[in-house]
Symmetry: C2
């Protein structure tokens, strides 16, 4: 009689094992981050990074950071599929441009506020 | 007698072919973007995306966009090696936070400038 533990017997294959057509047991490193009912997230990281690279990149970070690492990989894969030329680097360049624009606006508004403050102080000193 | 064209004979292997130990000829799709004298850039994208994925991702974009695509992949690979948990997604989250902070500062400075303008207008109407 087989002595497979109940948990292993009832374990649902994760999206990674399902796609790679391999056995998924309770020790599967990807199972917590790529549940079987969300196959498109693993399909994305597999397409962009390749399954073996994803496993290596998840393995190389501490267990408590693996969920964040998996989410970041999913995010980057989606960005690359949406924009095959610039990927998430494109989002970074765009955000850097926005930061520069906002800094320039802030500088100009600060200068305007300072100018108004000086005019106000001057008027107060004249009429006081 | 061999009839290999002079260009193919003198072609220096690119960083990709050098690392993958394969023949690099003038038709090599990666050669223009990964010169042999900059091996660390290809080593990075190979480690993060895998050589075959890099080739696929370069191939799938139009020729005029390939240089940008290669640069973006190098950028993303460097970001992931520098931050193995968040990679370039981490840079995006950080920049999004900076954008939010700058927007809040700008809103507050705009309100301050408006307030000063109103005070100045009020003083001018009183003393004119």
């Amino acid at each position: 009689m087989e002595t497979t533990p109940a948990r292993a017997r009832t374990h649902q294959p994760c999206a990674a094992c399902r796609m790679l057509r391999r056995r998924c047991d309770v020790n599967c490193i990807l199972a917590p981050y790529f549940p079987g009912d969300e196959p498109e997230e693993f399909a994305g990281v597999h397409k962009v990074f390749g399954a073996s690279n994803v496993i290596k990149m998840i393995q190389m970070v501490e267990e408590r950071s693996r969920e964040d690492a998996a989410k970041a990989l999913v995010y980057e894969a989606k960005a690359r599929m949406r924009d095959p030329v610039y990927g998430s680097a494109g989002t970074i360049f765009q955000l850097q441009k926005t930061v520069q624009q906002l800094k320039a606006q802030l500088e100009s508004t600060n200068a305007r506020a300072l100018e108004l403050q000086q005019q106000k102080d001057q008027m107060l000193s004249i009429f006081s």
